[in-house]
C-alpha cells in the first residue's frame, strides 16, 4: 500500500505597520503592559474601527509577492467568539471576500521545482494575550490587541515535512524581503497551524487533523512527521482518524487532542456593519506593485548573472535579505564578488550557524568585511590567514587592520626572505628531496607545508610553492 501525506498550512503574520489595524495605537512589539491601548482597541462601548490603509497595502504587497489575484472589492467580517483576550468578543477578519486569492509559491524539492498553491490571504486583527498565573487567575495584556495580521492559507499541496519546511522558509523570506512582517516566530509575529491527512492509492483517506501550538519550523516538521505516522497506523489498522484539532507537545514530541470538530466553534461570521466595503482600484494595486522591492528569485538571478557566482551560493545568500545586502555592500567595496561569496559561504555562514543568529548580530559590518577582503586581494594576508583574522573579528569586533598588525599576521612577500626559509627547509629535509627526485610528487606539499610553518604561516603560499618546485627541479 502506498501512502501520500497531504499538508496544508495556515500562517499568521503580524504586519509591521506603525499603528494598529483600527486605531492609532502603536503596533510595536512589547512595551509596558497595557500601554499600547486606547478605548478603540480595548473595545470600550461606543467605539468604532477605522481601517488602517497601510495595513491593506501591506497585505496587498504580500498577495502580489505570492502571485495572488487582488480583489477589486473586499470587505471585513466579524468572527464571533468569547475569550477574555478578545475584548469586543469578535475579531474583525475576512470571511468570503478576502483581499488576495489564488496565488502560489515555488519550492525546490528533490524532484525539482514544485508549485504550492495559496488559496487566500486575508486581513484580520490580532488578539491580546492572556497570562494565567499559578493561583488560577488570569492577567490580560492588550498591547498586541488590534495589531494587523495577515492569514495565509495554502492549498494541501505539500507532501510532507520537508516540503512544508521549504514552503515556510520561502514564505518567511518573501515577507522579510518586502518588509511587511518581521517574521519572528519567537516573538509571535509569525505563527503557523498545520492541516494534515493521509490518502492511500486505493482512495482511502484519513480525516484532517489541525495542529496547533507549533512554535518553530522545526516543531511544525516534527509534528507533521508524527501525525503522518499516526494516520498511516490508523489506515493500516483499517481505521480512520478523527476530524479534530490537536496540540503539539514539544517536550514530549507528540500531538494531543484539543477538541473534535463536533465541538468546533460556530463563529457566526457576518459582514462588519461598522465598516464599509473596500474598493481596490487597479491603479492603487499598480502603485503598490511599484513599491515592492526586488524579490528573492529576481535577486538570485541577478546575483548569478552580475557576480557570476554559482546558483547554489546565490540561493543561499539571497535566502535572507540582510545577508544579501551585506554581500552586495561587501562586493561593492572590495570589488571581488567571488572572494566575497566564498568567504560568506564558508566562514560567515558557519559562524552564523554556531551563533544561531543572523547577520545583523555580527559585531562588524559589511565595510569591515570588505576591508578584510581587500587585504587578501592585495596579498597582505593569505586566504588562510584571513580566516583567522575573520574569526578574531567575529569574536572581538576589532578591525581587520588592527588584528593583522597586533598579531603580526602580515604576509611575507619579500622573495629573498622566503628564499632563505625555503633553502633552510630543503637542507633540513634531504629525505623529502630524495623522495621527490624518485618521483614522489607529494613531497612538494610536505616541503611547502614545512616552509609555511617555519614562516608561521605568513609567507605568501604561491611564492613558497613556486620556489620549492624551482629549487627541487634545479
Amino acid at each position: 500500500m502506498k501512502y501520500r501525506t497531504l499538508v496544508g498550512l495556515e500562517i499568521h503574520a503580524e504586519l509591521l505597520t506603525e499603528s494598529k489595524m483600527f486605531c492609532t495605537c502603536s503596533a510595536a512589539f512589547g512595551g509596558d503592559v497595557n500601554t499600547h491601548c486606547c478605548p478603540i482597541c480595548i473595545g470600550l462601548p461606543g467605539t468604532l474601527p477605522v481601517i488602517n490603509k497601510r495595513a491593506i497595502e501591506f497585505a496587498i504587497m504580500a498577495g502580489l509577492s505570492a502571485n495572488c489575484k487582488i480583489a477589486g472589492k473586499s470587505k471585513m467580517d466579524r468572527k464571533n467568539y468569547f475569550y477574555p483576550d478578545l475584548p469586543k468578543a469578535f475579531q474583525i477578519s475576512q470571511y468570503d471576500m478576502p483581499l488576495c486569492t489564488d496565488g502560489y509559491l515555488e519550492i525546490e524539492t528533490e524532484s525539482g521545482t514544485k508549485k504550492i498553491g495559496i488559496e487566500r490571504i486575508h486581513m484580520e486583527e490580532d488578539t491580546g494575550k492572556s497570562l494565567h498565573t499559578e493561583d488560577g487567575s488570569s492577567l490580560l495584556n492588550y498591547n498586541r490587541c488590534g495589531v494587523p495580521l495577515i492569514e495565509i492559507v495554502s492549498r494541501p499541496d505539500m507532501a510532507g515535512a520537508d516540503e512544508a519546511t521549504a514552503f515556510l522558509d520561502k514564505l518567511k523570506g518573501i515577507l522579510e524581503y518586502i518588509e511587511v512582517s518581521d517574521v519572528k516566530m519567537e516573538q509571535g509575529s509569525l505563527r503557523c497551524d498545520v492541516n494534515v491527512n493521509v490518502v492511500t492509492d486505493d482512495g482511502r483517506k484519513t480525516e484532517i487533523a489541525e495542529l496547533k501550538n507549533l512554535n518553530s519550523f522545526k516543531a511544525a516538521a516534527k509534528a507533521i512527521e508524527y501525525e503522518t505516522k499516526r494516520h498511516i497506523k490508523a489506515l493500516e489498522a483499517g481505521e480512520n482518524t478523527l476530524k479534530e484539532t490537536r496540540r503539539w507537545d514539544d517536550a514530549k514530541s507528540v500531538t494531543v487532542s484539543m477538541r473534535s470538530k463536533e465541538y468546533a466553534h460556530d463563529y457566526r461570521y457576518f459582514p462588519e456593519p461598522d465598516l464599509v466595503e473596500m474598493e481596490i482600484s487597479g491603479e492603487w494595486i499598480e502603485r503598490i506593485r511599484k513599491e515592492l522591492p526586488e524579490l528573492p528569485q529576481a535577486k538570485k538571478d541577478r546575483f548569478m548573472k552580475t557576480y557570476e557566482i554559482p546558483e547554489y551560493d546565490a540561493g543561499v545568500i539571497v535566502s535572507s535579505k540582510s545577508l544579501a545586502a551585506f554581500y552586495e555592500e561587501a562586493v561593492k567595496l572590495s570589488g571581488d564578488a567571488k572572494l566575497a561569496s566564498n568567504f560568506m559561504m564558508t566562514e560567515i555562514l558557519r559562524r552564523l550557524k554556531d551563533m544561531d543568529s543572523d547577520i545583523s548580530n555580527m559585531p562588524f559590518g559589511a565595510s569591515d568585511f570588505a576591508d578584510l577582503l581587500k587585504f587578501v586581494i592585495s596579498g597582505t594576508v593569505s586566504n588562510n590567514m584571513a580566516k583567522k583574522v575573520f574569526r578574531e573579528m567575529a569574536e572581538t569586533g576589532k578591525k581587520a587592520e588592527k588584528i593583522i598588525e597586533e598579531k603580526g599576521m602580515k604576509q611575507i612577500t619579500d622573495e629573498s626572505a622566503i628564499e632563505e626559509i625555503v633553502d633552510r627547509v630543503i637542507s633540513e629535509n634531504p629525505q623529502s628531496v630524495e623522495d621527490y627526485r624518485n618521483g614522489k610528487d607529494r613531497a612538494v606539499g610536505f616541503l611547502v607545508g614545512q616552509a609555511m610553518k617555519a614562516s608561521k604561516g605568513k609567507a605568501a603560499p604561491q611564492t613558497v610553492n613556486r620556489m620549492v618546485r624551482e629549487k627541487l627541479d634545479k
Binding site: 477574555p84 475584548p87 464599509v276
Partner: protein
C-alpha cells in the same frame, strides 16, 4: 409664558437679548427637574455641577461680546447611550451601571463645542431595546401628558425630559423608531437623520447598520438647529458620510406649494387605530390646502420590514453586546469559577429579559446553517425595501404616514407581550431598514394625548422634511400645546 415652556430657539433669543443669563436658564431647568422629576423619572444622571460651569462659561463669553453658536448656553439632555467623558453612561442597563467612559462621543464633543449646557443623561430602554422605556434597569419613565402612560421608547427619557420642560431639547437614538415614536407619544418633533449623517462614534451600539442619533425639539426650528450642530463627517466613523455641513433652518420657511406627497396605503392598514389614521389623513388635507399634491402610493415590501428588522437588528446586537462580559468594565457577577463561568453569570445577571431575548434571536439567526435563511435573506429584502423607497422618491418629495399605530399606551399594557410591543414600530422600522431620513411631528390630539405624523424623505434630504414639517406646524399650531404638569420651576417670562 413659563420659561420651561419656551422652545430652544426662543430661549436662545432670550439669552442673546440678555433677558436671561444661561445660569438663570439652567437653574430654571433644575428647578423644574426638582419639581416634576419625581413624577416623570426622565433622568438617570443629573450633571448639575458641570452644567452650571458650562452655563457660566457661556455668560462670561456673552459678556466678552463673543459671537456664539445658536445652541450655546441652552440646557439640554443626552440619552444615556451616548458617551460622556467622566460621566456615567449606563445605557439603562445594570451591565453598565458603573460605567464611566474615558472619552466623549462625537455628538457630545460637538455639543460641547457648540456651548451646549448638558443637564443630565436620560433614561432609556436597556441598550435601546424597547418601545416604552419600561425596559430600563433603573426606572420607568412616565409620559408628561399622562403619567399613567409610557412616553414611548427607547428614547423615552429624552422625550419626556423635553415634554416636561426639564430640558429645552435633547438627543435620542433611533434604530427602529426610538426617536420618532416617543416624539409622537409626547407631542414633540423628533428626527431620525439619514444613516451616515450624524456620527455614531461614542453611541453604544445596538444595531450598527440601523442606529442613528437625532434631536427632540418642541418645534421644527429646534430640530433644524440641533441637526445643524450635530451633522457632519467624522473620520472616527467609517459609515459617516462626507458631505458639507448644512444650515437646516435655511429654506425652512419656503412652503410646500407644488410639493408631491406620497401616501403609502400599507401604512394605514390593520393595526393602526382609526383615530390615528383619520388625523394623519387630515394632515394630508392640510398640505393640499397649502398647495401640495397628495397621492396614494404602494410600498409592497414595507410589510416585511418588521421581520427583516428583527433579524438584522438582533443579529447585530448579539455581536455588539458580546463584549459585555465583566472582564474589563461594567458589572461583574460575584462568585465565579474561571472566565467562562464569569461570562455566563455576568451576562445572566447583568442583562434584562428583552436584551437577552434579542441576543438569543440574533445568535440563532447568525448560526451556521441558518445564516442564509435568516440574515442573508434579511439583507436581500432590505435591498428591496430600499429600492422601493428610492423608486417612490423619483416621483414624490416626501412620504406621509402615521408615526405610531396608536397614542401612548398604559404602563404595563404591553410589557407581557413582546410581539405586541414590537408592533409599535411597524410604521417607523421601514425607514431605518432603508436608511432614509424621517421625522415625527404632532398632528393633533386624541383624548388629550398627542398623535404623531411621520414624514419620510430622500437620502440626505432632511431639508425638505424640515421645510414641510415647518409649514404644517405653522398652519396647524399643534406644536404650541404643552403637557400640563404643575408644580415648580414655573417662573414666567
Amino acid at each position: 409664558m413659563k420659561i420651561h415652556d419656551l422652545t430652544a430657539h426662543e430661549a436662545g433669543d432670550r439669552l442673546r437679548e440678555r433677558e436671561l443669563s444661561s445660569v438663570e436658564l439652567t437653574e430654571e431647568s433644575y428647578k423644574r427637574i426638582e419639581a416634576v422629576e419625581g413624577r416623570v423619572e426622565a433622568f438617570i444622571t443629573l450633571t448639575k455641577e458641570q452644567a452650571m460651569l458650562q452655563a457660566s462659561a457661556f455668560d462670561q463669553a456673552m459678556k466678552r461680546g463673543e459671537n456664539l453658536p445658536d445652541l450655546a448656553g441652552i440646557p439640554m439632555a443626552l440619552k444615556d447611550n451616548m458617551c460622556t467623558d467622566g460621566i456615567l453612561t449606563t445605557c439603562g442597563s445594570r451591565m453598565l451601571g458603573n460605567f464611566v467612559p474615558p472619552y466623549d462621543a462625537t455628538v457630545t464633543r460637538m455639543l460641547k463645542e457648540s456651548g451646549a449646557v448638558i443637564v443630565g443623561k436620560t433614561n432609556m430602554d436597556e441598550f435601546a431595546m424597547g418601545s416604552s422605556t419600561e425596559n430600563s434597569a433603573f426606572k420607568i419613565t412616565k409620559n408628561p401628558w399622562d403619567t399613567e402612560r409610557v412616553p414611548g421608547g427607547s428614547s423615552g427619557g429624552s422625550a419626556a425630559a423635553v415634554a416636561a420642560g426639564e430640558a429645552f431639547y435633547s438627543l435620542g437614538s433611533d434604530t427602529g423608531g426610538s426617536i420618532r415614536q416617543p416624539a409622537a407619544f409626547t407631542g414633540l418633533v423628533g428626527m431620525k437623520p439619514t444613516y451616515g449623517r450624524v456620527s455614531r462614534y461614542g453611541l453604544v451600539a445596538f444595531a450598527s447598520s440601523l442606529d442613528q442619533i437625532g434631536p427632540f425639539g418642541k418645534d421644527v426650528e429646534d430640530c433644524a438647529m440641533v441637526m445643524g450642530a450635530i451633522s457632519g463627517h467624522d473620520s472616527k466613523d467609517s459609515t459617516s458620510v462626507n458631505r458639507p455641513a448644512e444650515d437646516f433652518t435655511k429654506g425652512m420657511k419656503d412652503g410646500v406649494k407644488g410639493m408631491r406627497i406620497g401616501i403609502p396605503k400599507e401604512f394605514f392598514g390593520e393595526g393602526i387605530s382609526e383615530e390615528v389614521k383619520a388625523m394623519v389623513l387630515e394632515g394630508a388635507k392640510l398640505y393640499e390646502s397649502m398647495g401640495a399634491v397628495c397621492e396614494e402610493i404602494s410600498l409592497p415590501s414595507a410589510k416585511h420590514a418588521l421581520s427583516v428588522y428583527y433579524i438584522l437588528a438582533t443579529s447585530e446586537c448579539s455581536s455588539n453586546l458580546a463584549r459585555f462580559d465583566g472582564a474589563r468594565f461594567g458589572y461583574r457577577a460575584p462568585n465565579y469559577q474561571g472566565f467562562k463561568d464569569m461570562f455566563i453569570k455576568t451576562r445572566s445577571a447583568g442583562f434584562g429579559e428583552e436584551v437577552k431575548r434579542r441576543i438569543m434571536l440574533g445568535t440563532y439567526s447568525l448560526s451556521s446553517g441558518y445564516y442564509d435563511a435568516y440574515y442573508n435573506k434579511g439583507l436581500k429584502v432590505r435591498t428591496l425595501i430600499k429600492r422601493e423607497f428610492e423608486k417612490a422618491f423619483e416621483k414624490y418629495d416626501f412620504i406621509l404616514t402615521p408615526t405610531a399605530p396608536s397614542v401612548a399606551f398604559q404602563i404595563g399594557e404591553k410589557s407581557d407581550d413582546p410581539l405586541e410591543m414590537y408592533m409599535s414600530d411597524i410604521c417607523t422600522v421601514p425607514v431605518n431598514i432603508a436608511g432614509v431620513p424621517a421625522l415625527s411631528i404632532p398632528c393633533g390630539f386624541k383624548d388629550g394625548l398627542p398623535v404623531g405624523m411621520q414624514l419620510i424623505g430622500k437620502f440626505f434630504d432632511e431639508a425638505t422634511l424640515l421645510r414641510a414639517a415647518y409649514s404644517f406646524e405653522q398652519a396647524s399650531g399643534v406644536h404650541r400645546q404643552r403637557a400640563q404638569l404643575a408644580g415648580g420651576g414655573e417662573n414666567e417670562i
